[in-house]
């Protein structure tokens, strides 16, 4: 039997890790509601399994999304994941060829060169030693890049790299040591028995000239095994938990499970699938402009994993979605944050008895217009909308003309999800009473919640979408204006609801639109977000100023946005006019 005592640390570490992970995942999956567990069972026996394998290959091994961010960063991550995977696969095949029996010990591929010292008796020896050395070289090149990233992260398109927790550091250093130790252990054996490949044989003969290899070979194999044990032991308590968790997460996501309003076992999987890669650090405007870092998912999830969540870290967030957009693991960061807020704000219900007074007698038309709280505070937008409806001779019902109740999204963003439902129910009654077929809103905050949460039987449109529809129907006759302007994608309309093209279609007919680096999914938050409960005025102004300066190009004569709140926030810092899409359309509309 191929055995030596040094295999024990590795074997104990691996078996312990597998047991620990299995228990954890089973517990999380069992904590899911019955219907979600049913979805998982169903997806196992469906074609979704192919999509799962494909996504695991693309994202957990090759890291295609990271490649898209930065090629060097992608190469670095894939060299560890895909390289290690190849090492395991080819190692297992090599053992199959070397041994006549099929049931081999778990550790045998790992310590193969130690146990099989006579190359002449091994089948396809030259091929396997070449392949295994090439894979090791591939991983070592990634390791070199990882070391460089710690010193100079800008090489990989990152301004900052993640600050690590102490358990992360132990896991990181032991991971970094695994492959050089493997190289040294295999090379020392190759230096004595010449059983290595192009790299290990050469390194081995080089070492043989310098060191007494017979004496150091055995301790090197021990060190390699102990280092593997250390990595396995610290993996569950470090960011490297993402390695196994991401695979389980992909499987459950393929089954159609996601985090909604509450922290569930699935959310735990998402939190543990965060690799703290740090791509979200540069995406966060609060970090970029104000230098605060608590709210960044890489750090927030680190804290949640170690059960240390500070309230400011949860509430000092714009919920703008830039981190979620940047996340290579596609973690539903915003929903997790809101669900976590819900956990913290477990108050008794709000008292909304006064909602009974809100009247619901409305004239019946095809279009119902809901300006929303923010449009009522920027009256030029609602006036422009009314004017557009009148100019186009469109009968409409202004359902909150004399003020109304809030749409519920601000309350939802605070985490008070159950209370938000009470407002939603009342608004639903009002909308139903209007008898309209289309609900139009000027506020992206209202649009998002009406569209996604209310489950209305009627069509919900943001005014930019309505204009786009009318323009396609030939209902809007617009005069082109000699204006060069930048367009700002509001967070809830752009990243939140993926409405990027409608405002651009319509604006291109009216003005000359200036391209910027901060548009569509890369758009910046104005800072006025209703998702942040921690911002002071000076923070808001700083973020708005930074965003304004970045969005406005030299040629832009004005800033156009589609959100009343963004308009109000930008107006405080803007040197040039800031107007809403509705206002420019009203101006350009031929009667």
């Amino acid at each position: 039997m191929k055995f030596d005592w040094f295999v024990v640390p590795f074997a104990v570490g691996l078996v312990g890790l597998i047991l620990f992970l299995t228990l954890k995942y089973v517990r999380w999956i069992l904590s899911l509601p019955k219907e979600e567990r049913k979805k998982i069972r169903k997806s196992f026996f469906s074609t979704k399994i192919f999509a799962f394998v494909w996504e695991v290959f693309r994202e957990a091994l090759l890291h295609v999304r990271i490649f898209k961010k930065n090629i060097i960063l992608g190469y670095m991550h894939s060299s560890f994941a895909f390289g290690w995977f190849l090492l395991i696969v080819f190692g297992a095949i090599e053992v199959e060829f070397a041994n006549s029996r099929h049931a081999n010990h778990l550790y045998e591929p790992i310590f193969f060169r130690f146990f099989h010292r006579d190359p002449s008796v091994l089948e396809h020896h030259a091929f396997f030693t070449f392949i295994m050395d090439a894979i090791l070289l591939y991983i070592l090149s990634g390791l070199l890049l990882a070391l460089t990233k710690r010193l100079y992260s800008r090489l990989m398109g990152m301004k900052k790299t993640t600050r690590l927790y102490w358990t992360d550091k132990i896991a990181l250093y032991s991971l970094w040591l695994i492959f050089p130790l493997r190289l040294l252990a295999e090379s020392s054996t190759a230096g004595i028995y010449a059983n290595g490949g192009f790299m290990t044989n050469h390194v081995g003969s080089f070492l043989a000239n310098l060191l007494p290899l017979e004496k150091i070979m055995y301790p090197l194999w021990w060190m390699y095994s102990i280092d593997l044990f250390l990595f396995f032991a610290f993996l569950p308590f470090s960011r490297y938990m993402h390695i196994p968790t991401e695979i389980v997460l992909i499987a459950l996501r393929q089954a159609g499970i996601y985090t909604k309003n509450k922290i569930t076992g699935f959310s735990q999987l998402e939190i543990n699938a965060c690799s703290s890669c740090g791509i979200c650090i540069d995406a966060c405007q609060i970090q970029d402009v104000l230098g605060r870092q608590n709210m960044i998912p890489a750090y927030l999830f680190q804290k949640i994993r170690h059960e240390k969540v500070l309230k400011p870290a949860l509430y000092d967030c714009l919920i703008c979605g830039r981190c979620e957009e940047a996340c290579p693991v596609n973690i539903n960061i915003l929903n997790i944050k809101v669900a976590k807020r819900n956990e913290k704000l477990n108050h008794k219900h709000q008292q909304y008895d006064y909602l009974r007074q809100v009247t619901t007698e409305l004239p019946k038309t095809q279009i119902a217009y809901f300006a929303g709280c923010m449009s009522h505070l920027t009256p030029s937008i609602k006036k422009a909308m009314v004017s557009i409806f009148e100019k186009t001779h469109t009968p409409f019902t202004f359902i909150d003309e004399d003020g109304s109740i809030c749409c519920g999204r601000p309350l939802q963003l605070s985490g008070k999800i159950e209370d938000a439902k009470i407002l939603m129910q009342k608004n639903k009654e009002i909308i139903a009473a209007s008898g309209a077929e289309i609900l139009v809103t000027s506020c992206p905050i209202c649009y998002k919640v009406f569209n996604e949460e209310y489950q209305l039987a009627i069509k919900v449109m943001h005014h930019s979408q309505l204009f786009d529809l009318w323009s396609k129907q030939g209902k809007l006759k617009l005069n082109a204006q000699p204006i060069k302007a930048s367009y700002h994608d509001p967070c809830d309309l752009g990243r939140g609801s993926h409405v990027y093209d409608a405002p651009r279609h319509i604006l291109n007919q009216v003005i000359t639109l200036q391209e910027t680096a901060y548009q569509k999914e890369h758009s910046l938050c104005c800072g006025g977000s209703l998702g942040n409960f921690y911002f002071q005025e000076k923070d808001k102004v700083q973020v708005a100023q930074d965003a304004y300066d970045k969005i406005m190009t030299n040629h832009s004569e004005m800033l156009i946005t589609s959100c009343p709140l963004c308009k109000k926030t930008f107006q405080k810092v803007a040197e040039k006019p800031v107007i809403d899409l509705a206002e420019i359309i009203d101006k350009a509309l031929m009667q």
């Binding site: 309230k311 509430y315 913290k344 704000l345 477990n346 108050h347 008794k348 219900h349 709000q350 008292q351 909304y352 006064y354 909602l355 007074q357 809100v358 709280c373 923010m374 009522h376 505070l377 003020g403 109304s404 109740i405 809030c406 519920g408 601000p410 309350l411 605070s414 008070k416 407002l423 209703l530 409960f533 921690y534 911002f535 002071q536 005025e537 709140l565 109000k568």
Partner: protein
Amino acid sequence: MKNFGFSVNKSRVIEYDQNDRALFYYLMRVEPSVSLCIACGACTATCSAGAFSSLDFHKIMLSIRRGEKVYIAKEITQCMLCGKCQLVCPKNVNTRGVILQILSFLQSSQL
């Protein structure tokens, strides 16, 4: 006795010695913008909930200073957190932050 439909007004004396101002000190620590409030009433004038209910944010701010917790606990739960008050505040008080902190304080003090 004949009922004339009138009663004696409740005393409007503010008992600073008996009132507990812990909430005010808590807010001064966690949300210092609370000290900027001049109780001008702009928030109340624009309040969506105030249009239908007795919610009066500037009165709540006054009550915070006076330590009238029972009134605050009763009124604050009518807020919809829509943020209009914050946008019109001339002193830039982080009103939504104040409300969340009050709720959090009241929750922990079991009121």
